[in-house]
């Protein structure tokens, strides 16, 4: 049956072109910054929109954590080793929060400061016993590893 074969051909053509269009659209979308996730460098360059809820990821810079002894207020720098962003937060920090720890903070930029509504500690896929960490730290390899992370 000729018409049957023609119909089948049309269906296959439709499927192929549908998937083609979809793949094209996805490729376009992935070439753009899609997830409102910014690094401190991008923020320093002013690429992040202000007053909008964004997420910033990086390390808590050493020696920058100021805790207010009276309240739960805390301020710290998030760094990607090029630029720092000052983050203020009020609330209970997760256990994993410490200097040198990777964090993701969610919040808005208000007058040059990042006001976080949520601080989440990001742990990496590396699991190791403390002795190993110690050994690494002594040999200076840990910083190398951490630096290599971002």
């Amino acid at each position: 049956m000729n018409s049957k074969r023609k119909q089948r051909l049309l269906i296959v053509l439709g499927l192929v072109s549908g998937f083609g269009i979809a793949v094209g659209l996805v490729m376009f979308a992935l070439s753009q910054n899609i997830n409102l996730f910014f690094t401190p460098t991008q923020i320093a360059k002013g690429e992040a929109p202000s007053a909008q809820m964004i997420r910033v990821g990086g390390m808590v810079a050493d020696g920058t954590v100021d805790r207010d002894p009276q309240s739960l207020k805390v301020a710290f720098d998030v760094t990607d080793f090029d630029h720092n962003v000052r983050v203020t937060y009020e609330g209970i920090l997760p256990d994993l929060f410490r200097e040198g720890q990777g964090v993701v903070v969610q919040g808005r930029i208000r007058s040059g400061q990042f006001v976080a509504s949520e601080v989440l500690a990001k742990h990496d896929e590396n699991y190791m016993p403390p002795e190993v960490t110690e050994a690494l730290r002594q040999s200076g390899k840990l910083d190398q590893m951490m630096g290599g992370q971002k």
């Binding site: 997420r55 997760p94 994993l96 929060f97 989440l120 500690a121 896929e125 699991y127 190791m128 403390p130």
Partner: protein
């Protein structure tokens, strides 16, 4: 001749008898593996430099999360087998996998929440990986619900098969969500292609546990498949004979 092994799977009786033996093997193996892996992981593996002891939940969370996704893929394979070879046993497998898959997904969500509180500071975030896991749980629920709503088992099986195959679209989204969206959830700890990012004393018990949970899932699924086969074949001679003997 080469196809005989394949056609045997069409016989419910053959399956019922064989599966009983396999189940026994799986049960023993699972018990051994899980006891070894869990004891090793929980008591003897070294603690983590960042998370202390709380990381030990990976010995539950990781295997269970693996299984939750793998079972969906297994269900999709069963759906394909059902449509291509019209094999009723594939439908039986789909039915038991749906329930087990939901159970494992729920377990991975719960263990993840318990782990998330000390490490991330929250039980739940609407992050892509977690959300897609939740969607997976809903997909399993949908398959279970659809089957429950349609009376004729053959028809219910095929309807579930269609739903499962359409839901397969979701699996890659789950798989790649971590890479697509820069999320909180760490990348997978174990990859087949790379050396694991943890010392042997940590990953060997994890591997044992993963194997253990897989075999345990096989044990549970075989058991429920046998029960379903018995129920569906209740009018056939061999089941009646079996019952009268018991």
């Amino acid at each position: 001749m080469g196809w005989r092994w394949f056609h045997q799977w069409g016989s419910p009786r053959w399956f019922y008898e064989r599966a009983g033996r396999w189940q026994l093997v799986c049960g023993r193996l699972a018990l051994t593996l899980l006891i070894t892996g869990s004891l090793w992981g929980l008591a003897f593996a070294p603690i983590d430099y960042q998370q202390g002891n709380s990381y030990r939940i990976i010995y539950l969370h990781v295997p269970v999360a693996f299984l939750a996704q793998a079972l969906y893929a297994a269900m999709a394979v069963c759906a394909v087998v059902l449509f291509v070879w019209k094999m009723k046993l594939a439908d039986v497998a789909m039915q038991s996998i749906a329930i087990m898959g939901f159970a494992f997904t729920a377990l991975s969500l719960i263990s993840g929440a318990v782990w998330g509180k000390p490490t991330w500071g929250t039980y739940w975030v609407w992050d892509a990986r977690l959300t897609s896991m939740l969607i997976l749980a809903f997909l399993y629920l949908g398959v279970i619900g659809l089957r429950a709503a349609i009376q004729d088992p053959d028809q219910a099986g095929k309807a579930c098969g269609i739903l499962v195959l359409v839901g397969v679209v979701n699996l890659p989204i789950i798989k790649y969500s971590v890479e697509w969206w820069n999320t909180l959830h760490q990348p997978a700890s174990l990859k087949l292609t790379e050396k694991p990012a943890m010392p042997a004393s940590m990953w060997i018990p994890l591997l044992i546990n993963i194997l253990g949970y897989y075999v345990a899932a096989a044990y549970l699924i075989l058991g429920s498949m046998r029960a379903i086969v018995l129920e569906r074949e209740r009018r056939s001679a061999w089941v009646r004979e079996l019952v009268s003997r018991a």
